[in-house]
């Protein structure tokens, strides 16, 4: 035997194929819409076509008389039983938070809002009858543009008296984590560089592939609710808190859930309405939305204007950054809607050592679909803006974008590092990730090709985009959340049940919707307890089997939920130890545990953990005073966020004659700490990349002047297809996290956060020599072409580069070529 063979094989780090796959590839999946209960009724929603209107009357007679219809309910009918949609994170004590009823009775505040619910024997009958509900509206003026909304001339909610929901600020001088940003900027205006830019984060639709669905069975003492949700535990809490049903009577089940990306972390009007109707009728009810309904009714993401002022010395050393955000919340403050842009507060300074920093965020109400977390939630927005403006600084100083980052980033020997925003990054190595990425990318060769194409006047220009990002994830230390007035904690819970016959059940409070928890958790427990991977069953997503949990979002499942599992496993070993000692007739102090076996030091005596499980089940021969169970629970509250980072490089070709862009190469090197399953990690990275790339190139939720969502179906909201995308090169460096046992950092959002600025930086880099320094997202061929056209004429008129212009009172300071008015009315 060689030494290598003697090494214990570990599950952690193996590219295990997923346990979840078998049912998914054979069509045996448990989607909510697959559930059929005896006597089940079906719901259809009547939705407002208007962005803002008074409901004068609702005629339901014709609908009620329609074939198969059991009942029709308006907001007035449901008034006292429907609960209310909650906001769990008021970002300031005086935040304006309009009441959000699932089915409002007198006024709708965005198009797509529910005004009546039709219940029928079949879904088709319910939909037919919904057409017959006669709603008389009086249209009210709607406010749709967030800059218009700031003026408070037209109000999204007249009773609130203002469209401004809340203002939130972080100032490094005030909180003692850095200097005075205004001083830094004033100084740079004298003898340094000041860059001022305004970027647009367009509105996006999360577009999980499984439309949302809810089944409610009010039979018996307990109400069972199946829902396509990321947050069964939070939903259970919200139902109990707002519908007057004791929490102990509510069972929520998230069966297989077809994607979420933040889009399913909401507690929704549709869920509350279905529960209210099922209780009224005492019958099982199902509601499944159509895709067109998803588009207008499930929350959207992003939607910000971002003003940045960056001050630097002449050599490119940054001296300060000031951020002013406007964030559109849509018509209501969603569950964490107000908090999402605030998460950016700790992220605009990113991987850099800025001495002074200020973050200002104004949240705004409009008559559009509500906005909340979408993959990355606040962090992609921040990363985009800072990585775009660092490129502008590089251009101003006249150095390579990599060089400007090197000059300003935290070096590997400076960790742990407390940033100007006040976060302490535990570990990282930006140099190593960047070096590896540059090599895999062939950066020098591509730069040479770019130069050659410029010199030869090739109509197809090449641009290279850099994005060096970090993020904070693993939500979150409960104490920090408390200090931010967040309405819940950030812990996660796990249980391990050692079954008598040698297999193991792992119960997790995190609820997956495609992430492969069943596989990854099995790997962790297999190593920890020395149980074969195959003998471990992971249970989740049902408040009856997994009673405690805070669910899945913010890349928290592994770093928080995984740690809870580790701790539960360690407790199992601790509980088994005295029993092992008893059975081995040895002292507890002489026992060692490894690979599933307790052994007595210095002897060949030993006993397996599964044998102890059986002995404990029989309980015939246990030490005195020891309970007959080695099962264990653990609830873990993280001590810090975790901070994955990475370097992403993108090469884009831009046809200067047509504006068409195409991706030539994409390389990313992410440092997400210890990797449990590289296969799952690769998948998360690929999917994340494409979502981020899609924001850069294709996606955008567009409204018309009436407040109708124009991109309200998959015909107009252009999700990327296989034909639009390329193969990626994704690699890793590993700087284990120092704040959890496994050293993991979270990967769910990394790709999305990093890729958007890499792509836009590449496009701008391809055409910068034409006088272009920004193109608004999505960078469609039309926008790119327009930018090139107007840059050409602009250049002819004023060939000399202007001095850095300053912000006007309210004018965006983008290059006039950037087409900044396009879509500005959103």
């Amino acid at each position: 035997m060689t030494a290598v063979d003697d090494r214990p094989t570990t599950e952690v780090g193996r590219d295990r194929r997923r346990k979840e796959d078998q049912r998914l590839i054979t069509g045996r999946t448990r989607w909510t819409d697959n559930i059929q209960l005896p006597g089940m009724l079906h719901l259809a929603m009547v939705r407002s076509p208007f962005a803002h209107a008074k409901i004068l009357s609702i005629g339901t007679d014709e609908a009620k008389a329609s074939t198969g219809v059991v009942a029709v309910y308006t907001g007035a009918d449901l008034a006292d039983s429907q609960g209310v949609n909650i906001n769990a994170w008021p970002i300031t004590p005086d935040q304006v938070t309009p009441t959000h009823l699932p089915v409002p009775a007198d006024r709708v505040a965005h198009s797509g809002e529910i005004v009546a619910v039709v219940v029928a024997r079949t879904a088709a009958q319910a939909r037919d009858a919904a057409e017959l509900v006669d709603v008389d509206y009086e249209e009210l003026p709607a406010v749709l543009d967030m800059k218009e909304a700031l003026k408070d001339e037209v109000l999204a909610h007249p009773d609130s008296g203002t469209n401004k929901s809340a203002f939130w600020k972080l100032d490094s001088k005030e909180q003692g984590s850095g200097g005075d940003v205004d001083e830094a900027i004033a100084k740079a205006r004298q003898d340094g560089i000041v860059i001022e830019r305004e970027y647009r984060q367009q509105r996006l639709v999360p577009a999980f592939m499984e439309p949302r669905s809810t089944v409610v069975d009010p039979t018996g003492e307990q109400i069972s609710i199946w829902s396509a949700t990321q947050v069964p535990h939070i939903l259970r809490f919200a139902i109990a808190a707002t519908m007057g049903i004791p929490e102990s009577k509510v069972r929520v089940i998230a069966p297989d859930v077809g994607g979420g990306f933040g889009g399913k972390l909401q507690t929704t009007p549709e869920e509350f309405a279905t529960i209210a109707v099922a209780r009224k009728l005492g019958k099982p009810c199902k509601y499944t939305e159509t895709r067109s309904e998803t588009m207008v009714s499930a929350h959207h993401g992003r939607d910000q204007w971002q003003k940045l002022t960056l001050s630097a010395e002449k050599d490119g050393t940054v001296t300060g950054l000031k951020v002013e955000l406007l964030a559109d919340l849509g018509a209501y403050v969603a569950i964490v809607g107000g908090g999402v842009p605030v998460l950016g507060a700790w992220m605009f300074n990113s991987i850099y050592k800025f001495p002074a920093y200020q973050f200002n965020c104004q949240t705004i109400l409009t008559n559009k679909t509500w906005v909340d977390a979408y993959r990355g939630a606040g962090r992609p927005e921040a990363t985009y803006a800072i990585e775009r403006i660092m490129d502008e600084l590089a251009a101003e100083v006249g150095v390579d974008p990599i060089a400007i980052r090197e000059k300003n980033w935290i070096t590997h020997d400076e960790f742990p590092f407390t940033t100007v925003a006040g976060m302490t990054y535990d570990s990282g190595n930006y140099e190593a990730a960047t070096e590896k990425a540059l090599e895999l990318f062939g950066y020098e060769e591509l730069r040479a090709e770019q130069k050659q194409r410029r010199e030869s006047g090739d109509p197809v220009q090449l641009g290279l985009g850099v994005s060096t990002f970090t993020e904070m994830c693993g939500l979150a230390p409960s104490r920090v959340l408390g200090s931010l007035s967040y309405g819940a904690g950030g812990w996660e819970s796990a249980s391990i049940r050692m079954l008598a016959t040698g297999t193991v059940e792992v119960v997790s409070g995190a609820t997956p919707h495609g992430q492969g928890h069943e596989t990854a958790w099995s790997q962790i427990v297999a190593d920890r307890l020395g149980i074969p991977f195959e003998n471990i069953e992971v249970l989740h997503g049902d408040t009856q089997t997994a009673p405690k949990g805070l669910d899945t979002y913010g890349s928290r499942s592994l770093v928080v939920g995984g740690e809870a599992i580790v701790r539960a496993a360690d407790k199992v070993i601790e509980k088994a130890k005295p029993i092992a000692a008893h059975l081995l007739e040895a002292s507890v102090d002489d026992l060692e545990f490894s690979a599933g076996q307790f052994t007595v030091k210095g002897t060949d005596k030993g006993i397996g953990l599964t044998d102890i499980a059986l002995a404990t089940f029989a309980a015939h021969n246990l030490p005195d005073g020891v309970e007959p169970s080695i099962d264990a629970d653990a609830t873990y509250d993280p001590v810090n966020f975790s901070f994955p980072h990475g370097t992403h490089l993108c090469a884009m070709e831009v046809d200067t004659e047509t504006g068409a862009t195409s991706m030539r190469k994409y390389v990313c090197v992410d440092d997400i700490g210890t990797i449990i399953n590289p296969l799952i990690v690769e998948g998360q990275v690929h999917g994340g990349l494409v979502q981020g790339i899609a924001q850069a190139l294709w996606e955008g939720a567009e409204y018309d002047e009436q407040g109708t969502l124009v991109s309200g179906s998959f015909v107009d909201y252009t999700l990327p297809t296989a034909a639009d995308t390329i193969n990626f090169v994704s690699e890793h460096t590993v700087s284990p996290s120092t704040t959890n046992t496994l050293g993991t950092k979270g990967v769910g959002e990394a790709g999305t956060i990093a890729s958007t600025p890499a792509v836009v930086n590449a496009i701008v880099d391809a055409v910068r020599h034409l006088g272009i320094d920004d193109i608004q997202m999505p960078c469609t061929p039309e926008r790119v072409w327009k930018a090139i056209q107007s840059a050409g004429s602009h250049q002819a008129a004023a060939p000399v580069a202007d001095a850095q212009p300053h912000f006007g009172d309210d004018a965006p300071n983008q290059d006039p070529a950037a087409g900044s008015t396009d879509g500005a009315a959103q």
Binding site: R17, D21, I25, P211, G687, S713, T721, T725
Partner: protein, 160 residues
């Protein structure tokens, strides 16, 4: 109501359906083939893809009555004698699925793609799957899985 007879995954089914009923609703609600799913209402997503007489169709784009007298294969009928179809196995092996919602349609489309073109280039695979949306995987591993099936069946062919 119209009486139709459709062979679904090898079983002959005779049912009364409304003339307007879509094939996907017939499969899910009447026959109980809930492995085939609905992802949109505009025939864009391909989640509902099945085989009609051996060729892939979006079953939300076909009326149940149009399937009368024809044969439908869904994801649930793809494995034979408990053996996964090579495409199902390749999706598992190459981690070509995450949430799995697009997967039934994607696999059915991929099988048809290789039937048409047993040796596709990467580009041809990508274009062949253009009608099927996936929000989770970024397509990278789906393309890899399809290429793997093509490669193994072409090496089988050449070794015969």
């Amino acid at each position: 109501m119209t009486r139709i007879t459709v062979t679904v995954d090898g079983v002959s089914c005779t049912d009364e359906v409304e003339p307007r009923m879509l094939l996907v609703h017939y499969l899910r609600e009447v026959v109980g083939k809930v492995g085939t799913v609905v992802g949109c209402d505009t025939s864009n997503c391909g989640a509902c893809t099945v085989h009609l007489d051996g060729r892939s169709v979006k079953s939300c784009n076909v009326l149940a009555v149009q399937a009368d007298g024809h044969e439908v294969t869904t994801i649930e009928g793809l494995a034979t004698n408990g053996e996964l179809h090579p495409m199902q196995a390749a999706f598992h092996e190459n981690h070509a699925l995450q949430c799995g919602y697009c997967t039934p349609g994607m696999i059915m489309q991929a099988v048809d793609l290789l039937k048409e073109n047993p040796n596709p280039s990467e580009e041809e695979i990508r274009v062949g799957l253009e009608g099927n949306l996936c929000r989770c995987t970024g397509y990278h591993n789906i393309v890899k899985a399809v290429a793997a099936v093509a490669a193994s069946s072409s090496s089988e062919r050449s070794s015969v």
